[in-house]
């Protein structure tokens, strides 16, 4: 593996307090048969207290495995490889014992998943399920736990929470169920919320409500949020910094405005151009040809090169490090090192 030619900038400037979460060279591999799927392959990033970081990429880029790794929810044949480091609130998550990590999950780090239909138990009321978190994690009494559940349902905007707490999941819409899951995640006042595609299964008007709720909670509770999504629109709406993933690695990172105004990695540019945009119909969409390669066979050199219109010999020979573009903007692309090559390629993205 090629090491970064220049140091990757830490997102926290000198003099600031240490970040809430610091991930360094995270590698999560799946050992299946004789093959090794390098699902997450050398990912480093920080999250500061109270900020919302977006992690964006397509299926198979490693974003969900990254999220599960942060909670150590990786089961064999998956494995977090040695040399990976995850520091959270000053503690090394990868050396904690099972009891220690269980203390963190749900208490300090909480997670909301995509599927609000399957994440709730159909035979218990939503009040019971939210209250259970308080009883298990805080040892609250039945009475106190129920009151806490009602308070949390109120916090996430469920109307008439005292009555609704007695409902069963099937009596709620998808949007309401997602609110319940967010309530469950926040019962213990975590400092970090990992939200993996929290609005993907929802209709657009309901998605708007949930995004609004997340932004509101993030402000009111000083919560840090890692928002994982494939939707650049969602990223633009709610995050302040963005990590773009491809091939198990972060290929570009930047503050959100910078990323959308000056994307430097051809993959990021491709994603932005491939989206149809409201109010800007075009005759043809620019496409990224081909598909994401399987994690057992990342191409040598740059992992994006066989889909990239700019690629040249160096891209096959040399795995690009995270080049520094500006202080808080990096891109894993040799174009940053050789800007003279960064001209619109004649055949860029015209292939079907």
């Amino acid at each position: 593996m090629t090491m970064p030619a220049r140091p990757v900038p830490n997102s926290s400037a000198a003099g600031e307090s240490p970040p809430l979460l610091r991930v360094q060279d995270l590698r999560t591999y799946f050992h299946v048969g004789g093959a090794v799927a390098r699902a997450v392959d050398g990912v480093s990033f920080d999250i500061r207290q109270g900020e919302t970081v977006g992690m964006v990429g397509e299926s198979g880029c490693g974003k969900s495995v990254t999220a599960l790794s942060l909670l150590r929810l990786i089961d064999p044949p998956g494995r977090i490889e040695s040399g990976s480091r995850i520091e959270f609130e000053g503690r090394d998550l990868l050396t904690l014992n099972e009891e220690g990590i269980r203390q963190l999950r749900g208490n300090r780090i909480a997670m909301v998943f995509q599927e609000p239909m399957t994440a709730l138990n159909p035979v218990f009321t939503i009040g019971d399920q939210v209250a259970e978190v308080a009883r298990v994690h805080a040892g609250a009494s039945r009475r106190a736990a129920w009151d806490r559940a009602v308070e949390m349902l109120n916090l996430v905007g469920i109307p008439d929470p005292r009555e609704r707490a007695k409902s069963y999941p099937h009596q709620l819409s998808g949007g309401m169920r997602q609110r319940v899951l967010i309530a469950m995640a926040l019962v213990m006042n975590p400092s970090l919320l990992i939200a993996d595609e929290p609005t993907t299964a929802l209709d657009v008007t309901i998605q708007a409500q949930i995004l609004e709720l997340l932004a509101d909670l993030q402000q009111r509770l000083g919560l840090a949020v890692l928002l994982i999504t494939h939707d650049l629109g969602v990223v633009a709406e709610v995050t302040s910094r963005v990590l773009v993933m491809y091939g198990g690695q972060i290929v570009e990172r930047a503050p959100v405005r910078e990323l959308f105004a000056h994307p430097r990695h051809p993959y990021t540019r491709g994603l932005l151009e491939a989206m149809p945009r409201l109010g800007r119909p075009r005759d043809r969409l620019t496409v990224i040809p081909g598909t994401v390669p399987p994690p057992t066979r990342w191409p040598s050199g740059c992992r994006f090169r066989d889909r990239c219109a700019w690629a040249w010999q160096r891209c096959a020979d040399e795995h690009p490090p995270e080049y520094v573009v500006t202080a808080d903007h990096t891109a894993r692309c040799h174009l940053v090192d050789e800007p003279s090559r960064d001209v619109t390629p004649a055949a860029a993205g015209v292939a079907r």
């Binding site: 209709d203 008007t205 494939h230 990223v235 959308f260 109010g279 969409l285 598909t291 079907r352």
Partner: protein, 357 residues
């Protein structure tokens, strides 16, 4: 009715599909879900009519009812002048050559035990279009036309990615040389980069073969990109109908306005005025009275009349049809509105959706 054409390829009139709601131990029908509730529309030769709406609005049922994959409860469907509902057996099968469908989920819409060649070939055999070596040849051609390699014919669906499977689904639909295809959320299960490939493919095929599409999707930007004209559905009804440029430039139905304003814009500098609707889509088994959208409506002139009067789908400006008695002009006279409890005169409401900060 909105958007009637002089020479439509497909014409649908007052189409309804009601599903019984069964409850209790013996499953007695205790009510009805009006999934499709009196829809009329025309699709022209070689055009794309977009259908947008949220889950449960009836858009998928509409597509399937038109193809008679689901039997309609009432209404009329004519394809090239032929009454589709009157067809049976052999004649219906022959008609299906003209009308095909592409499904949303490329993972469950292909038979895992059939090679993709056999899947594409099935239509050729059923309709006796080609046999033997000629059919093999045709299958290869079709696969190449949708951007796959001919030699993939002998492989099975699990060997392909979502985007490639969707191409197989398109090749299967094209095999019988249809003139009309219902595209039911054809790209919503795909990744962004692959989605663009399939959208471009659908447009190329339309241009080369003169295909007409009924393009059903929940993604408003995809529909704007694909469609010539667009119908917005809410609880089984069309609530707005216009050409795509008109609808997206000047959405008049408060529901369409909210829908458009809710789409996240991939531009962190532009902050849009967002209309966040209260509550969820009501159950289609128990729709609100009057205007089905009134409990969530943000129109400043909304009043008691909206809960009492079913708004007709009326032409507000040439070619632009809207079901709202509070957006002028309206054929529902003020007297009539007042009798129904109206307190507020209709007034033009057109919130500005995009503003830079």
């Amino acid at each position: 009715m909105p958007g009637a054409l002089a020479d439509p390829l497909l014409s649908v009139r007052k189409l309804t599909k009601h599903f019984p709601v069964r409850t209790g131990l013996f499953g007695r029908a205790s009510g009805q879900v009006r999934a499709v509730d009196g829809i009329s529309l025309d699709v022209g030769h070689g055009e794309t009519l977009g259908i947008v709406g949220e889950s449960g609005c009836g858009k998928t049922t509409l597509g399937r009812t038109i193809l008679r994959l689901v039997e309609p409860t009432s209404g009329e469907i004519r394809f090239d002048g032929v009454d589709v509902r009157a067809l049976k057996g052999k004649d219906l099968r022959a008609m299906r050559r003209n009308m095909q469908i592409i499904f949303q989920d490329p993972f469950s819409s292909l038979n895992p035990r059939m090679t993709i060649g056999a899947t594409v070939r099935e239509g050729l055999t059923v309709h006796r279009i080609a046999e033997g070596a000629a059919a093999d040849q045709r299958v290869r051609q079709l696969l190449e036309e949708v951007g796959l390699r001919g030699e993939y014919a002998s492989q099975y669906p699990h060997e392909f990615s979502g985007g490639q499977r969707q191409r197989v689904g398109i090749a299967r639909a094209l095999a019988v040389e249809p003139r009309f295809i219902v595209c039911d959320e054809p790209v919503s299960a795909l990744d962004v980069s692959v989605q663009a490939q399939v959208i471009n493919l659908l447009r190329d095929l339309q241009r080369d073969r003169g295909l007409a599409y009924l393009f059903i999707a929940h993604d408003l930007s995809v529909v704007e990109h694909m469609a010539n004209r667009v119908a917005v559905m809410y609880l089984g009804r069309i609530v707005e109908f216009a050409t795509a440029p008109d609808l997206y430039r000047e959405p008049l139905m408060p529901y369409t306005q909210a829908l458009l304003s809710a789409v996240p814009v991939p531009d962190p500098v532009t902050k849009r005025q967002r209309i966040v609707l209260a509550g969820d889509v009501p159950s289609p088994a128990n729709p609100p009275s009057g205007c089905v959208f009134h409990p969530r409506c943000h129109h400043p002139a909304r009043d008691a009349a909206c809960a009492a009067i079913v708004p007709p789908l009326e032409e507000k400006s040439p070619g632009h049809w809207v079901a709202c008695i509070k957006q002028p002009p309206t054929t529902v006279a003020w007297d009539e509105q007042r009798k129904a409890g109206a307190t507020k005169q209709p007034e033009r409401h057109l919130p500005v959706l995009g503003t830079a900060v």
